[in-house]
């Protein structure tokens, strides 16, 4: 007697072995690992690039405290500032034109640059604004009778502490990036593995091996084994990518992941498991309705569409995580995996919301297995033309 678990295990083993040996699997794993590692390494490389240094020309007389104030602006614009005394405004202009200077302050009155940068947030623009402010305030205070030292210390007073009313983490943008990559991987993984599952199902159907398999297996055993086998391969691939990314992160200094980023990666993997569980049976049912491999394209099209829509909603949820629509969709089983991943990474999520969403996805998965499993069982032995969904839902068993 072959037990249900034994049967499912045999099917699962075959699927795993069948899948990991294909060239497509090898190529996609290498590609995913490269993308995952690049996502970690490239920001690290950018971070370690030498910081820009700004050569600031001074025309006229400036007190030592003013000079120090200008040099101290360096870190606030992400670089260093070196001062170069210039003999005249014309000398400064030609130095700017030749590139020897980035910026010049003429007689505490005018600021010269070679060209206005097109990016208003560039370091040079911010340096110009800050330098102009510092020089003006210093001049005003000195004119009011303060000594240069007194004026400078007034300028250097510590900034007021900033308190956020909403408790947010300063690493939201880092987590947004991780969540963005997570949603992308989630989308690609579910679509890819769903597609592989649907193709595998129709291959068994069109080669008629399913007749032999189902003379000893029940349809649900075959379906469960296939779903598990391909799911295990998918999960293994994602974990490989995750591990490679983590190793890359440690190798490049270890602090590239924003705080909470590790949690977001773990959440992405959990949502893959749930999302795959939810969609896999639907993909298998879609596969079973085709009669040839070419039919799969059209039978899975509605699922691809729903997933693409969910993906786009998930990306947009990263910028508006607290809107009502996003809140609602984060509990709706088909969209929950990607949307809740986005919300939890960048939005406000109460402690009970993720468990509730998980529970709803599980309930939805159970309901879908009932319907899709039935469609699969009825369609898989039905030869002839492609089966329409309405037929598949109504048909009596073969």
């Amino acid at each position: 007697m072959i037990g249900t678990w034994e049967a499912i295990r045999l099917v699962t083993e075959r699927e795993v072995r069948d899948r990991v040996r294909t060239r497509a699997f090898l190529i996609s794993t290498v590609l995913f690992v490269l993308v995952g590692v690049a996502a970690i390494v490239i920001p690290a490389i950018l971070k370690s690039l030498p910081k820009p240094s700004y050569d600031v020309g001074l025309v006229g007389r400036y007190s030592q405290p003013v000079r120090q104030t200008i040099v101290d602006l360096g870190p606030t614009v992400g670089g260093t500032v070196r001062l170069r005394q210039q003999s005249s405004s014309d000398a400064a202009r030609s130095a700017l034109a030749s590139g020897a200077l980035d910026l010049a302050i003429v007689d505490s009155r005018t600021i010269l640059v070679d060209r206005i940068p097109s990016d208003p947030t560039s370091g040079l623009v911010r340096l110009a604004a800050s330098a102009s402010q510092a020089v003006q305030i210093q001049t005003t205070l000195e004119n009011e009778g303060l000594s240069p030292q007194q004026a400078a210390s007034a300028l250097r007073s510590p900034p007021l502490p900033v308190e956020a009313v909403q408790p947010t983490s300063k690493d939201v943008s880092g987590r947004r990036t991780v969540a963005f990559i997570g949603i992308l991987f989630l989308y690609i993984a579910i679509v890819t593995y769903g597609g592989i599952l649907a193709t595998g199902v129709v291959e068994e159907k069109s080669s008629r091996i399913v007749e032999i398999l189902l003379s000893t297996l029940r349809p649900y055993q075959l379906l469960a084994g296939k779903v598990l086998g391909i799911g295990v391969v998918g999960l293994g691939q994602l974990l490989t990518v995750g591990a490679a990314a983590l190793i890359a992160s440690v190798a490049t200094g270890g602090n590239v992941l924003p705080s909470g980023g590790g949690l977001t990666i773990a959440a992405a993997i959990m949502w893959f498991v749930l999302g795959y569980a939810f969609y896999s049976c639907a993909y298998a049912a879609a596969g079973s309705m085709g009669s040839r491999t070419q039919d799969v394209q059209s039978t899975v099209a509605p699922l691809q569409f729903i997933l693409l829509l969910t993906y786009l909603l998930g990306i947009s949820a990263l910028s508006s995580p607290d809107s009502t629509l996003v809140r609602v969709l984060s509990f709706f089983p088909p969209t929950a995996p990607m949307i809740m991943l986005a919300r939890a990474a960048v939005g406000q999520v109460a402690w009970w919301e993720v468990p509730l969403s998980v529970a709803l996805v599980l309930v939805g998965t159970y309901a879908l297995i009932r319907v899709a499993g039935g469609v699969y069982a009825r369609s898989i032995l039905r030869t002839g033309p492609r089966i329409k969904l309405r037929q598949a839902l109504r048909m009596a068993p073969a």
Binding site: M1, I2, R14
Partner: protein, 296 residues
């Protein structure tokens, strides 16, 4: 004993099977005959559990066939079926294990069958890389590898050359000798006649003739083959009471005789037409029983 009892199956308005009943005994080679679309494949799929009957049941040793019994059934479906891209040895081991064999025994059986079928050198080939003939052999191995008690084979001889046909016939006889019940469908009636102990003939889902082959033949109308040298037309046989002309070719006439026909009267009529060089009374052939049954 494998019993098909009152099997009935409808597909929409089409009745595929209509109260089909017959039985196959262990150790018996059972030929399942019928025109295309008569319902043979449907009946075999119901036996294997890949189609469900609307009415009726399949029994094995007196009880309803269940999943556990089917582990001991071997099946060759009509349209065949193997994973095209899977290595054949791996595939056969997998199928054997799905039928409940432990890894070691599965491997041993697979290697034995691959060797016997002359495929030892191809065990790492994918199905799709094999010639059609070799694919057929793998398909046969798939049905046999778990040492089944029942073999259900849908057109196992279709597409085989004469040597492969003989080999398959030999293997099936051997399995029957080991006590397996073998049910197979075929359109090659001479082959069935040569191999089978019993047959069932169905037409439009209904059983029209079944039983042990030698009994069916003994109770059928005998055939009489008469050659009258130099006759050429065979008109001498016209109008003989109880003797129906089946075929005329040259000097030879083949007659089918009703019960109680006096063969000596036929011989006298033939002698009147010329010298009789052959006068042979034989049991009817299966093909003749088949045509009669289907035409009735």
């Amino acid at each position: 004993m494998l019993e098909l009892h009152d099997l009935t199956k409808r597909y929409g308005s089409v009745t595929a099977l209509d109260g089909l009943t017959f039985a196959v005994r262990p150790g018996e080679m059972f030929g399942f005959l019928g025109a295309n679309g008569a319902g043979k494949t449907t009946a075999m799929r119901i036996v294997m559990g890949v189609a469900a009957a609307d009415r009726g049941e399949v029994r094995w040793h007196g009880h309803l066939v269940g999943a556990e019994d089917r582990l001991r059934f071997g099946y060759m479906p009509e349209e065949r079926g193997l994973y095209p891209k899977m290595k054949i040895r791996e595939q056969l081991v997998y199928l054997a294990r799905l039928h409940g064999l432990a890894m070691e025994r599965a491997s041993r059986n697979v290697d034995a069958w691959l060797h016997r079928l002359g495929l030892s050198g191809r065990s790492d080939s994918k199905t799709e890389e094999l010639s059609l003939g070799n694919q057929q052999r793998v398909q046969l191995a798939a049905a046999l590898v778990h040492e089944p008690d029942v073999l259900v084979l849908d057109e196992p001889f279709a597409g085989l050359d004469p040597i492969a046909t003989d080999n398959l016939g030999g293997i099936l006889k051997e399995r029957a000798g080991d006590g397996a019940a073998i049910l197979f469908s075929s359109h090659q009636l001479d082959l069935v006649e040569h191999l089978c102990d019993a047959v069932a003939i169905i037409d439009r889902g209904r059983l029209i003739l079944s039983g042990a082959l030698n009994q069916l033949k003994a109770s059928g109308r005998p055939r009489l083959e008469v050659t009258v040298s130099g006759d050429g037309v065979g008109t001498w046989a016209d109008g003989l009471p109880g003797a129906q002309v089946e075929e005329r070719k040259g000097d030879t006439v083949i007659l089918r005789l009703s019960d109680g026909v006096d063969t000596q009267a036929v011989l006298a009529r033939a002698l009147a037409a010329g010298p009789v060089t052959r006068f042979s009374l034989e049991q009817p052939r299966l093909s003749e029983l088949f045509r009669e049954a289907v035409a009735a």
